[in-house]
Amino acid sequence: MSSWGSGLLDGLRVTWRNLTRRSVTAQYPDAMPVLPPRSRGVIALIEENCTVCMLCARECPAWCIYIDSHKEVVPPVEEGARERSRNVLDQFDIDFSLCMYCSICIEACPFDALHWSPEFEYAEYDIRDLTHDKDRLRDWMWTVPVPPALDPAAEEPKEVVAARKAADVKDTAPPGQEPKA
């Protein structure tokens, strides 16, 4: 076989060509990766939005959300109205050692209290520290990016539709009778 070795040489040619190219290695701790906004890094919580409805904890397939709350009585807003009771969040923990990063809790939340953040640097030496409490989850909120714009052929996000509807109602209502926000 006269051509024996030509395949080897072909391969070497590829490596030689690649030798002259820029390397694609990510220099991670020195250069941070640019992650897309939908990236599932860590779950952030807006405590103010949470009504302790427990949907996230119930829907979670790994049962890694721990919620505790108590009821508080709010004095009536107007004279003669009755007192209201309100849920106050005491504990909201997510155990990231159990979390499967499926984003069901975020979808399940009816009040947009949970969000994904692409932040990923929260490795710990102790597994117990992977359980983030509500303050730590609240802090992640600062890293939550704006959701990406959608494809032109996509339906409008429901938030945009709802906002436009509200604005239209406001515009068409006679002065002095704007609906309360």
């Binding site: 395949g7 499967m100 979808e107 052929a153």
Partner: protein, 397 residues
Amino acid sequence: MTEQRIVGLGAGATGFRSYERGGGDELATEDMVLNIGPQHPATHGVLRLKLTLDGERIVACEPIVGYMHRGVEKLFEVRDYRQIIVLANRHDWLSAFSSELGVVLAVERMLGMEVPVRATWSRTLLAELNRVLNHLMFLGSYPLEIGAITPIFYAFRERETIQQVMEELSGGRMHYMFNRVGGLKEDLPAGWLDRAGAAVAAVRRRLPEIRQIILGNEIFKARTQDVGQLSPELVQAYGVSGPIARASGVDFDLRRDEPYLAYDELAADGVLRVVTRDEGDCYARFSVLFDQVQVSLDLADACIEQLRSLPAGPINQRLPKILKAPEGATYCWTENPLGMNGYYLVSRGEKTPWRLKLRSASFNNIAVLPEVLGGCVVADMVAILGSMFFVVGDIDK
């Protein structure tokens, strides 16, 4: 007195030339049992092979599976159809999207649900990108297993290119969790189709490098050609499917033979070609994988083109708060990158399935190993094992 044992290259060495044999035919031999795995660098994952050796020859091979059994079918029964997707994309972690797809297709069929056309084409696109990712993994790892370390760097560079667009779309790099009953979780981000097209083009441009570096390599050919031949009869007897079956000349591909998603249109357009080989050896299996990547890239391009021209519309269906599949049963199979992946869904009208049986490709593909390995030499074991392209999670479920 201890009994003197002579274990050497004896009867097992027949067929070798003298310099390979070390000993002679006349030497007495004794069978030896050799465990490969469950933790062994030559097997990916925790597959254990119990080999009985006569000298260098493998007399018998018994794959012992189940080290990674997670009881996924039982877990399915206590989860609703959204939670099942979380588990479904984990049994075969290299074909997460395709595995999710089977579940939602089964539920949609039970519900008689029409999926928006944009969702169908996006799913087809993502399933093909997932196939490329899966095949690139094996195009890199198989040469690595038999000693060629360079291709995996190129394969991973290509994987990264595609993973980036997948991550931008779904937020995940392996477990996409992007299918929902009735469509996809979210719509495509603006400009994503351009970036996906660019990624496909970049992979297509650099793919010949993988061919040049490994497919023509004489050492690689010597290790794989005429090694581990799998006959079409064995393929049918054991229910082997996917690229491995097609490398043995079994021309069967669910994308063409029982089309789901948009594959019937793609097959009619001639974009979907089914790659087959007749040799049935390790080299054929590897080259089927390589050609399938190119077909998948063509399919991805066709899907991107189609998605651009589709009118604006939704990408998913509004679902009720509690989704219940009506009473009944259905079997939904899809052509996963590694072979046929089937879900047999039995529902009694609850929000969880009564039974969801999973037929995974790797289990059947690995079941044929004893037939292929019997009579081979130990040195070929790794070459054959690697060419069966399996994921241990897919075997053990």
